[in-house]
């Protein structure tokens, strides 16, 4: 059995209510018969080419701000592509490192889990990813609501958001 492979085989979810936010900044794949040029993307002010890009961004934003929102049981969620397909792979792997670090887990201890414990661990790991991502989405949403149309007026907006997030205090990010 391979642990990372198992983790990467999972498909994290996001809360359905974040779908509009994701659509707002992500180019819909398959639209325009794959002819969507970079120019068109830019004109539509879409910052992410794929949902997983925005998802990774949200994880890192949540992670950096130490802001997690757990998804409650029964809450409506949207599933998307498995981690193993996220690109660039080195970023996805780095995120996995980050989660291990944040879980303060003893790696050797994991190797001594039985299969059931291991499966539980993988599930917890996925939940952890999801809670950071949803925390990140919440930060984006707050900032967008606060700035309104101004949010889209700078190409640096998302970069600024992650750069300045160190100052984030659950509600305020000064851009």
């Amino acid at each position: 059995m391979r642990l990372i492979e198992k983790i990467k085989g999972t498909s994290p979810v996001y809360r359905s209510y974040n779908e509009d936010l994701i659509k707002l900044f992500t180019i819909k794949q398959g639209g325009k018969q794959g002819r969507s040029s970079e120019t068109t993307k830019w004109e539509e002010a879409k910052y992410f080419s794929f949902v997983y890009e925005m998802y990774m961004y949200a994880i890192l934003l949540g992670f950096k701000n130490n802001y997690q929102i757990d998804i409650n049981d029964g809450e409506s969620t949207k599933k998307f592509i498995e981690i193993k397909h996220w690109k660039p792979e080195e970023m996805a792997d780095y995120i996995i490192c980050a989660i291990f670090e944040r879980l303060k887990i003893d790696l050797f201890k994991i190797e001594n889990y039985d299969e059931k414990q291991l499966n539980e661990f993988v599930q917890n790991f996925k939940n952890e990813i999801e809670s950071y991502a949803n925390g990140g989405f919440e930060i984006i949403k707050d900032k967008r609501d606060e700035m309104g149309d101004l949010f889209k007026d700078s190409e640096y907006r998302f970069l600024e958001l992650i750069e300045m997030s160190i100052k984030f205090n659950l509600n305020i990010i000064d851009l």
Partner: protein
């Protein structure tokens, strides 16, 4: 229309002004007068007067159409004209009828005009004959002067079109007595031909070779015709040459500006292309930003600590695993050693390899607590133990260490984290580099854009000032070449025609001499004197016509300058004097300096003033008629085409040139100071001033069903 109910306006002697803002109904008063006389109203969509048959119900007030009960509905305008000198009074009434049925309207095609005439102290009577009606209409406003007395402000340009040099000559011919001299000239010409014809006939009769004389006489007639034709050709060509030279002079004047325009155009195009390409590059850079956020890991900026933390986890994991493995190995080895070799000085539970390595490093045995310095026996013993363990063939199964082995995966994660950390270290520089490129590009774009705006503004102002387009400017050099070629070719043609005329005159003289030679006896003096008188009379009428015309032009210039000076008094920008220049056979007004040189760069207001001054000069110079006394100048918004400083000057001139004039104006409504100056002016002979206003505010005027224009007399 916006006039509802009964509205009455009395126009006095002098200047009468209808003042109102845009859309208040000024033009409709102009239209109403025009409609009565010509059965046409100005149609804004067609920019020309159109007949009642075409415009139909639009002529009737919307309010009336809305409020009238079912049945006949109508509108009418009555005009009363007074000829005070003769005590004559003419009443013209035009009416247009239709029927209303609910929301449906039916209108006839024709309006009806009734005319009443009251001559002196006699009773007034209706005029029924069409000829009599036309006679009266022509009295009110003769057709030949209508265009110059009754015009839309925006049509001034068309009345005297500088580009059409015929237009001033046409106006002079129409409004002066010069046509009488033309008629005299024609009579003299005919007389000359007749007397000459009779002389030649007589010569033929007294010829000793009738046949030859007949042939020569015919040749003479044919030659005279040829000469007349050649002379006309010559005049045409000379006129062409004059026009080409004029055009060349104007074109040459523009060449410097054209060169500058060409240069500026090239520069602005270059800047435009540079802006376009920089903008595209900037967009590409902007677009690449979100790619770089991932491909160059920019969103991991400042997250090196993850790598550090993971390294700590991983090292611990490595240690734990290694220790566990060593522990197992050590246990296995110990039992092997005890079993196979045995060591007296080390316990059975022999330390694991890493402890032995530490002992060697520290030169101390941690089993007995004694020193184990290098090259000592104790040191060698520890080394031997370590060697035994290392060379041991004892194997450990992964499952003995842990349930699972994720070493490869964790190792891969670790290796990746180190590589990512290195990349994160370079992100700041990469972003700074990117931002510098973007910022430099933006600065360059701003600079180019400012330069482009500056140069475009100069270019456009030059184009406006010189009335040129870029294309025309580019064509100007070519045009000069073409004009020069045209001038050379016209000059050659003129030379040729002149040569032909000389030749034809020689031929004619020769023919006359041949005819004279055949004559026998003396020709009766009556014929000789008759031909001589015919020639002299013709010469005299021609020179008289030329003299009268020259005097007329001189008088026109004096009058035009007087009006121009009056009208431009309020504006210091206006300069120069009007000179009516001969252009070939025609004439056109120009503005010159005191030395008679043309002043370039006249603006539109100036041009229109010159035209207005010239029209008024033609009217006021016509001393033998009473046009300015008999007829009323009626103009819709003539001030709209002039600059704001010309309004009072125009009114002064108009009120002095015309006994009665009616103009509509927005200027005297919106500018109350100007209105006050008008009311208090000593120079303006103001007959009346009316203000017209709608009864509804602008927001309520959308539905015209309650709309009505109010007329208030201010003076």
């Amino acid at each position: 229309m916006c006039y509802y109910g009964i509205n009455e306006i009395t126009f006095e002697k002098g200047l009468n002004i209808i003042a109102g803002d845009n859309g208040y109904g000024k033009s409709k008063i102009f239209d109403a007068i025009y409609w009565v006389v010509y059965d046409k109203c100005h149609d804004v969509n067609y920019k020309e007067p159109r007949s009642t048959e075409l415009i139909k119900e639009t002529i009737i007030s919307d309010r009336h159409k809305h409020e009238a009960e079912d049945g006949v509905i109508s509108c009418s305008v009555s005009l009363i004209f007074l000829d005070e000198k003769k005590n004559n009074r003419y009443t013209l009434k035009r009416i247009f009828k239709g029927t209303k049925n609910g929301k449906e309207f039916t209108f006839g095609n024709k309006s009806k005009l009734s005319v009443k005439e009251k001559v002196r102290n006699l009773d007034s009577q209706f005029i029924n004959s069409k000829d009599d009606i036309d006679r009266i209409l022509n009295k009110i406003m003769p057709l030949n002067i209508r265009d110059y007395m009754w015009f839309q402000g925006e049509a001034i340009d068309r009345i005297i079109d500088f580009k059409n040099s015929d237009s001033l000559l046409k106006a002079i011919n129409l409004l002066s007595d010069i046509s009488t001299f033309d008629e005299i000239n024609n009579i003299a010409e005919t007389f000359k031909k007749k007397t000459l014809g009779k002389l030649n006939q007589k010569k033929q009769e007294q010829s000793d070779d009738q046949e030859a004389s007949e042939r020569i006489k015919n040749s003479i007639e044919s030659m005279v015709e040829k000469i007349t034709k050649s002379e006309l050709d010559l005049a045409d060509k000379e006129n062409d040459l004059f026009e080409h030279n004029e055009e060349l002079a104007i074109t040459i004047e523009k060449i410097q500006a054209a060169e500058e325009i060409k240069h500026l155009n090239i520069e602005t195009n270059k800047l435009y292309k540079s802006i376009e390409s920089d903008s595209k590059y900037l967009e590409t850079l902007k677009m690449s930003l979100h790619q770089k956020m991932f491909s160059e890991l920019w969103i991991l900026k400042g997250m090196e600590e993850i790598s550090e933390e993971f390294k700590r986890l991983y090292k611990k994991y490595q240690n734990d695993r290694s220790n566990k493995r060593a522990e197992i190995l050590s246990e296995k080895k110990a039992s092997e050693i005890v079993k196979n070799i045995g060591f007296a000085k080390l316990p059975a539970n022999m330390p694991r390899a890493n402890y032995l390595e530490q002992m060697l490093e520290d030169e101390q045995c941690y089993v007995c607590g004694q020193k184990a310095l290098k090259e000592s026996e104790a040191y060698a013993l520890i080394e031997a133990h370590l060697d035994k363990i290392n060379v041991s063939e004892v194997s450990i199964d992964d499952s003995e260490v842990a349930n699972f082995n994720f070493y490869d995966e964790f190792d891969k994660l670790f290796t990746n984290s180190i590589s990512v950390k290195n990349k994160i270290g370079k992100i700041d520089d990469n972003i700074e580099n990117y931002e510098n490129i973007v910022s430099n590009l933006k600065n360059e774009l701003d600079q180019n854009q400012n330069e482009y705006n500056r140069k475009s503004e100069i270019l456009n102002s030059l184009l406006r000032q010189e009335s040129l387009s870029v294309m025309k400017a580019e064509e100007i050099t070519e045009k000069i070449k073409t004009l020069n070629t045209l001038i050379r070719s016209t000059e050659k043609k003129i030379e040729k025609i002149k040569y032909e005329i000389d030749f034809q005159n020689d031929e004619l003289n020769e023919l006359n001499r041949s005819l004279d030679k055949l004559v026998t006896g003396d020709i009766d003096d009556v014929f000789l004197k008759g031909a001589e008188i015919g020639q002299k009379l013709h010469d005299l009428s021609k020179s008289t016509r030329e003299r009268v015309f020259a005097e007329l032009i001189e008088k026109l210039e004096i009058q035009a300058n007087r009006h121009y000076k009056e009208m431009t008094e309020g504006n210091k920008a206006a300069r120069g004097i009007i000179k009516i220049k001969k252009s070939g056979r025609n004439y056109s007004p120009d503005i010159v300096n005191n030395s008679g040189e043309s002043l370039p760069g006249m603006n539109t207001s100036n041009m229109i003033l010159i035209k207005l001054a010239t029209i008024m000069a033609i009217i006021s110079a016509r001393e033998s008629t009473r046009d300015n006394e008999l007829y009323t100048l009626i103009s819709d918004a003539p001030l709209s085409a002039l600059g704001e400083n010309y309004s009072l000057g125009f009114c002064t001139t108009v009120s002095n040139v015309y006994k009665q004039s009616i103009i509509t104006s927005k200027e005297f409504y919106v500018d109350k100071d100007l209105q006050n100056t008008l009311l208090n002016s000593e120079h303006i002979n103001l007959g009346s001033l009316y203000e017209i206003t709608p009864n509804l505010v602008e927001e309520e005027r959308e539905s015209r069903n309650k709309l009505q224009t109010k007329i208030d007399r201010i003076k």
